[in-house]
Symmetry: C2
Subunit: 461 residues, 2 copies
């Protein structure tokens, strides 16, 4: 195998999802009944991830109750609140929360993330999502989700406004000169006077610049618009890739787009999702995986699949392949990349609906890998060396046990192979990912178009 | 003095404001330089307040940088984030945060407060504000603040939506039946289908009902619209009252309005603000108060006063009274009650602008009381017995020292007199205030118009 020449340590993120990524994980005897709303459960997960020296933990989100409440734990704590609570029980691990650019105001959200960055001592990250789905739209006065393209245009302007607000205080603004009686220097705190298509925001923010300057900017959509957005703004990308070839192509694509915008491709870390199901033997791991699939109630899953594919549930036969006629990605307005991934997976592997449901129930389109700790470490190393990944988004099927097995069995192997840190060397999330603290585009960057990210500063000052 | 017959223990709230309520507190040698953004500082304040067995702590807020950043610490952590961080370092004290109904979406905010209530084990309170001021409006795409009346109409509908969302899960919705494979019972989780003037929200919320059902609902405006709003929705009211007579009249007014709406007047706790400046002797206390006033830079304060009064700063002479011609309350669209309070105070006591600035600098219109611990306890008892207050909003001029003095010297006197608890008897904020957990208006109340608050359930189900 060709070793990649830039063999920097890889990055590991723990994607925390209630009692596990497998939709039936909650039915196991070990799972706490109310995992989604139980702080003690999440605190335990955060401590395990930090014990493993993982770069970060991550919380997904959508402002809507997803699917049938009978199917799996649907009650979930709001991520910036939960993140703050987890900051209090950890000291080094990075903390990434999802928040929607479609259903928030930039002033409020910029302020919340700056605040989380302050209280956590520079450990905040923001997974920027545009939130697909009519159900979410109907919690915010709309009949249906805004058009895909509009959501991404709004997201880009949202990030522009947020970064300007984070830059509205110079790092040296607070003087606190008690003798003189001047707290902050007025000339080092400036309005942003943003006037755009979606937003008009005067600023300045009412929170001084935070330890990281900006939270780490993360993105997860893999549609064309999503990849362009990632290339421009993202510093880490969570992605669902089923095969090595697809993952290599995806990474190459996003990094080339970034280079095309004048960014350093090394400034974007690509982290495919992996659902590791770990056993003492491969057979034991596969048996756990199969046991979980048996616990799925197919009527829930079939209804959900039909919803995603925009077809009638009755058109799905559990023991047959997907029907021939389903809408193309072009006709879909939300979650395009997830839609395509599901259809491609089903067609490529000629899965029956029942088999497809099992695969999706495990990782919702992410790659499930059942094997020994050694085998999990091998596939991680293999993908990493092949340039398919700068790290991995670890999505244990069952929590906390799956995270515990990963941290206690897989991480030591990766450390032994020199692939992963044995101690934290930095204190901020950006330091863990080897990414710079962004310069202040309002006060410190002489050429305002040469900022840290592909964000041209327009309209400010 | 006539003792009030319902001598239930009084309630004490610690209003935490950076390094103190006096605008010049930050200039004292003891004050930390970056108090507004420093979690360790706030954590110390929370621990002191909890040591004193106070009912709650409270964070004010407006989504805007207030005034000149030179004048006092203007950088402040977002309150729901800070509250969550403080929940982690305390175990019993209630946690009240301000949030605006004008610049939030009900789905997002209902979810955040439900989440804070979950992570704190039932200690969350929401101070409902409508946010006056063109500066704040200009951070949210508006040219000026919405009309006073519109803000209150929106606020009422906002609270209606939020309470419906909190009721969208029955308390017994989560079954977590592993055998059957049913997590929550679909028939015990319902959309709210709200269709109103300001909001359309389908729901249900994606957080199950929280320990308190609703966070404690707090309100602070004292205009006519504000008092009507308090009478209908508030369970605790923070108010600025300079004299005993005004405070008695205010309390009577609000409670009568509530009774007129069919509510139990005992279900609304009135807490006037008091800025206690405590010394070993009265003279020492007055000297500390005067020292703080000398540290005010009058040019900052004069500019701020002119802004509030909507007049030219040059019209203000530091050593003369307020000019005769200033706008009436009717012409003011924001913070009406604060405006009137300032003008009334200046006219009643015939204060010069310099004196007025001193009084406002200390407590921004709240009542400053300089004296010994015994004298502070006396005035608290006096107001309480006279029916002017169900408790007090404690606003130390300097933090942490002023809170420490209050907790260590005044609280023991109040405890000795049987006026204040010596131990927490409940675990939730509602229990501290002696207020019931609200019934679920969607699932548990047979006559939906006879709910806990003056909230008629309309449009739902």
């Amino acid at each position: 195998m060709t070793r990649r020449t830039d063999r920097t340590p890889l990055h590991l993120n723990a994607f925390l999802m209630s009692v596990g990524h497998h939709e039936a994980a909650w039915r196991l005897p070990e799972s706490p009944a109310s995992g989604g709303t139980d702080l003690a459960h999440y605190a335990e997960l955060a401590r395990i991830a930090e014990r493993g020296k993982l770069d970060s933990l991550f919380l997904a989100d959508s402002p809507v109750l997803m699917g049938d409440p009978g199917r799996r734990p649907g009650s979930k704590l709001e991520p910036t609140v939960l993140l703050t609570a987890l900051a209090a029980v950890t000291s080094r691990i990075g903390l990434i929360a999802t928040a929607s650019t479609s259903y928030n105001e930039p002033y409020n959200l910029a302020r919340r993330f700056a605040s989380v960055d302050h209280v956590s001592g520079g450990r905040a990250g923001w997974n920027i999502v545009t939130t697909a789905g009519a159900d979410a739209a109907r919690n915010f006065g709309l009949d249906d989700t805004p058009l895909h393209r509009d959501r991404y245009l709004r997201a880009a302007e949202f990030v522009e406004v947020a970064t300007k607000l984070w830059d509205s205080w110079a790092d040296d603004a607070v003087l606190a000169d008690k003798e003189l009686g001047v707290h902050a220097r007025a000339e080092r705190v400036r309005p942003i006077d943003h006037r755009g298509t979606y937003f008009r925001v005067d600023g300045p923010l009412n929170v001084q610049r935070s330890p990281q300057g900006y939270p780490l900017l993360v993105q997860a959509g893999s549609s064309e618009d999503g990849k362009d957005f990632a290339a421009r703004y993202a510093e880490a990308v969570f992605t669902a890739q089923q095969t090595l070839e697809e993952a290599i192509a995806f990474s190459k694509d996003v990094k080339e787009r970034a280079a095309g915008l004048g960014r350093d491709p090394g400034g974007i870390k690509i982290l495919p999702g992996i659902v590791p199901v770990i056993g003492d033997t491969g057979a034991q791991a596969r048996e756990l995986d199969a046991e979980l699939d048996r616990l799925i109630r197919p009527e829930y899953a079939k209804r959900q699949l039909a919803r995603t594919l925009r077809i009638d549930p009755d058109a799905l036969d559990l023991d047959a392949e997907l029907p021939g006629e389903i809408p193309g990605e072009d006709e879909i307005e939300g979650a395009k990349s997830r839609y395509t991934l599901i259809v491609d997976l089903a067609r490529r592997e000629r899965l029956t609906v029942r088999q497809l449901i099992g695969r999706l129930g495990g990782g919702r389109g992410h790659r499930t890998f059942a094997g020994t700790a050694e085998q999990v470490a091998d596939t991680i190393e293999h993908w990493y060396d092949a340039g398919a990944a700068d790290g991995f988004n670890i999505m244990p099927a069952v929590l906390p046990s799956g995270l515990e097995l990963f941290v206690d069995r897989v991480v030591p192997i990766l450390q032994e192979r020199g692939l992963f840190r044995t101690e934290y060397t930095g204190t901020t999330l950006r330091e863990h990912y080897g990414l710079p603290r962004p310069a202040n585009r309002i006060f410190d960057v002489v050429d305002s178009r040469a900022g840290h990210l592909g964000i041209a500063l327009s309209g400010a000052r």
